[in-house]
């Protein structure tokens, strides 16, 4: 076979010059694009993914500290100051496994089936999220973890998180293809994001960047059409379907683990909507009565219920430390966790 690298009639390539130029041009180009986006107010942001979730899922096993797994959707993901929680609960290793816009029953089921897991689960969920139809919402994460997750991806994702944490251009919306597409269709760049993820998957929402009134209007309109509000499942069926949740809970408890069900606070409008859809006496209270695990509703705790929720559903990131303290206090004072 003819070697094209050693062809005698080819001029000797100046590889050093070519590569110094290449690296210089690449760095200058990427640096210029980064400065451009930064000047427009864009900031680096870690992108959540199945790989990032899997890194945290790997930490579900006890070492010197008891793993404290935070399950749920956006409310717990954007409300807990993980560093502060670690300081307040030195016996525990808090791990964020919640996923924005996805109810957590699949993750709970996965932990129940995992014989190696015997830590503590703090599962943030409301009556609607316990409906059987939502059981599999987080299953893709679980599947990824069990079928594709490998140490090489762990290392990759750690480095990727580092890159995303420091460079705005790591956002696909600010990438080359997205920019060319905007040039073609004449659309404006996306607004700078109002939420940020940390490499530990906890998130911050900055409500000074959000049209809070619009979010509240949305819930107001939903409430105005309250005659259309109803639960998808009748109370008795809903209650019967919870058997699977209790079975998973008992499996974890049988191994020495612990499960705590928790319902995050909601603002006045959203609370009214939820009360119409899932009357507390018919849903949540029955769950609390039947559950083999302790159940805590934030609205029953004065310190937790008082927090202002700008969009009626989530905390501003500035409230996270105080909220985290209040939640830890609520759990410890009820004997559910130890300091």
């Amino acid at each position: 076979m003819r070697s094209s690298t050693s062809s005698s009639d080819a001029p000797v390539q100046r590889w050093g010059l070519a590569w110094v130029l290449a690296l210089g041009i690449a760095m200058a180009f990427v640096g210029t694009v980064e400065r451009h986006w930064r000047a427009l107010g864009y900031r680096p942001n870690v992108r959540d993914s199945a790989q990032l979730w899997s890194i945290e899922r790997d930490r579900a096993y006890a070492t010197d500290k008891t793993p404290l797994l935070l399950l749920g959707a956006s409310r717990i993901e954007f409300s807990i100051d993980l560093k502060l929680m670690r300081d307040l609960l030195p016996r525990y290793q808090p791990v964020m496994l919640a996923q924005n816009a996805h109810y957590p029953l699949a993750a709970l089921r996965d932990l129940a089936r995992d014989e190696r897991f015997n830590g503590v689960v703090l599962c943030d969920i409301e009556a609607g999220g316990l409906e059987k139809t939502y059981t599999d919402m987080q299953q893709p994460l679980v599947d990824y973890y069990h079928k594709q997750w490998a140490p090489s991806w762990h290392l990759h994702r750690l480095l990727l998180s580092h890159w995303q944490h420091h460079w705005a251009v790591a956002d696909p919306d600010l990438g080359l293809t997205a920019s060319v597409l905007r040039l073609i269709d004449g659309s404006a760049p996306p607004r700078p994001e109002y939420f940020r993820f940390h490499p530990d998957r906890s998130g911050d929402i900055d409500y000074t960047q959000v049209d809070v009134a619009a979010a509240r209007r949305h819930f107001g309109e939903v409430l105005a059409n309250s005659q259309q509000l109803h639960a998808d499942v009748a109370p008795e069926q809903w209650r019967a379907d919870l058997a699977q949740v209790y079975e998973w809970t008992r499996r974890i408890q049988a191994r020495g683990g612990k499960v705590i069900f928790y319902q995050s606070p909601t603002g006045p409008t959203l609370t009214q909507i939820e009360t119409i859809r899932h009357p507390k006496a018919l849903y949540w209270d029955r769950f609390a009565a039947d559950s083999p695990a302790p159940v805590l509703d934030a609205m029953d705790d004065a310190a937790l219920a008082k927090f202002e929720l700008p969009d009626d559903s989530h905390l501003d990131y500035r409230s996270k430390p105080a909220y985290t303290r209040a939640l830890v206090e609520a759990l410890v004072s009820r004997g559910l966790l130890e300091r």
Partner: protein, 469 residues
């Protein structure tokens, strides 16, 4: 681990450094073998045992074939390796396909049989390393060369990490002198190898994943409501994606090997500028098409048994080639179509097409016709099932409205057109020579822009399409 991951960057830098730090060639070969097994185990560590077992068995059987004097004994050994290798492939890759089709037989007479669903994970790269092993044993059976007494050298031939999971499918005579004689990283090899790595990553990350894949996926995953224009944009986007994904992998593989001082065979040579279907298969996945030619087509008798049999052999070879890609009838149809293309072309060339019709204009027109039919065949490669494939063809040829294309589709079409034009401009050139001869400032500029484009194309890491084969 994938070439387009941070892990591979670290891994490759570490291997490169250690490889050049070690003095003795045997030690460096052990290092490469160990690194190759780490590379493979990064996906699914238990399957490393399968690779080790398969490698050791084939190395041992090859020695038995060579040692046997009786033709019948040689045949028994070669049958054993065929049985074992194809059996393992059938178990892991074709179990579902075989069971489903077996279940369809009693259904013809109204008997319902539902086979158990086996949740078997396909070991990555199994089709590729099985073909490596088979070619080695078959060549020794054909007395083309003597087997290597060194297990390590044979294992390195099979597992050499740049080409382990998706080729190019090398032959032992290509790799033997490179494995047996000491090699080192050279300045030219490193410069060119890294250039090829960057080019391959650009094809994969920028073209395949960022530009083509979203348009192709959006169409093929939800084609029901698409109009004719969207259908064409989806099919052409997939044609771009499959090339850039697979050629991107091969380019990375060749580049990584070159940086270590090894030369792998060219696997793609600007195939969308092919003039005719036989020319296409001399430019597309060359290492597979030559494997199919040497071990299937020629074994069937090639063109030595009359004209009719030649066409049957062509068709049969391409049908099996299609099935090699995936355990589904859609892949068989894709292979069958290419078999048909090749047969019709051969028939026309031998009986109808006058030799004097060879002008540049005619060749260009025939090139466009070739591309058109190659693109149509890709529909079957990507369609989820037979019904979906038929539905897509209906959308392509029977106008269904929806002539407005979005920005993503326009960009994909422009990128596909640019890819085809590039293939025509470079169709007679050798990529490695082209890079080596480009003036350093221009090469630096191009590499710098490609690198910047890669960095500025973040997104999820998509597995290379050919990993599933």
């Amino acid at each position: 681990m994938q070439f387009d991951s941070f892990t591979f960057m670290l891994f490759f830098a570490a291997v490169l450094a250690a490889y050049n730090a070690l003095g003795a060639w045997p030690a460096r070969k052990w290092l490469l073998l160990g690194a190759s097994y780490v590379f493979y185990a990064a996906w699914n560590p238990p399957f490393l045992l399968l690779l080790l077992g398969s490698t050791t068995l084939d190395w041992w059987i090859a020695r038995r074939i060579d040692a046997a004097q009786e033709p019948s004994a040689r045949k028994r050994w070669v049958m054993l390796t065929l049985l074992v290798n194809l059996g393992v492939l059938a178990f892991f890759k074709y179990n579902r396909f075989l069971l489903d089709n077996f279940a369809a037989l009693p259904a013809l007479i109204g008997v319902k049989y539902v086979p158990a669903q086996l949740d078997i994970v396909l070991p990555i790269g199994i089709s590729f390393y099985t073909f490596h092993s088979l070619s080695y044993c078959l060549d020794i059976y054909r007395r083309k060369f003597a087997p290597t007494p060194s297990w390590r050298d044979y294992a390195l031939y099979v597992a050499f990490f740049p080409q382990l999971v998706a080729g190019p499918i090398t032959r032992f005579p290509q790799m033997r002198p490179q494995i047996e004689a000491p090699r080192r990283t050279t300045r030219a090899g490193l410069g060119l190898g890294l250039s090829l790595l960057v080019l391959g990553l650009f094809e994969k990350s920028v073209l395949a994943d960022s530009i083509f894949a979203p348009v192709a996926d959006a169409f093929f995953n939800a084609s029901a409501n698409a109009g004719t224009a969207v259908a064409w944009s989806g099919v052409l986007a997939f044609s771009g994606q499959i090339f850039c994904d697979f050629a991107g992998y091969s380019t990375c593989a060749i580049g990584a090997a070159l940086a270590l001082g090894f030369e792998l065979p060219t696997n793609f040579r600007f195939p969308y500028a092919a003039v005719g279907f036989s020319d296409f298969w001399r430019r597309w996945h060359i290492s597979l098409s030559s494997w199919l030619r040497d071990y299937l087509y020629i074994s069937f008798g090639g063109n030595r048994r009359g004209e009719a049999r030649t066409y049957v052999n062509l068709l049969l070879t391409m049908l099996i080639g299609g099935l090699w890609h995936g355990a589904a009838w859609t892949f068989v149809i894709w292979g069958g179509l290419h078999g048909l293309y090749l047969s019709v072309e051969r028939l026309l060339r031998e009986h109808v097409w006058p030799a004097r019709w060879n002008s540049a204009a005619l060749r260009f027109v025939y090139g466009l016709i070739t591309l058109f039919f190659v693109v149509l065949a890709w529909v079957w490669f990507r369609a989820t099932d037979f019904a979906a494939g038929c539905d897509i063809f209906h959308k392509l040829f029977f106008a269904q409205g929806g002539y407005v294309l979005g920005a993503a589709q326009q960009l994909a079409l422009a990128a596909f057109a640019a890819t085809v034009v590039t293939h025509w401009l470079l169709r007679e050139r050798d990529l490695k020579s082209l890079i080596a001869r480009t003036p350093a400032p221009l090469l630096g500029l191009v590499l710098g822009l490609l690198l910047a484009a890669i960095v500025l194309s973040p997104g999820d890491n998509h597995a290379f399409i050919y990993f599933q084969f």
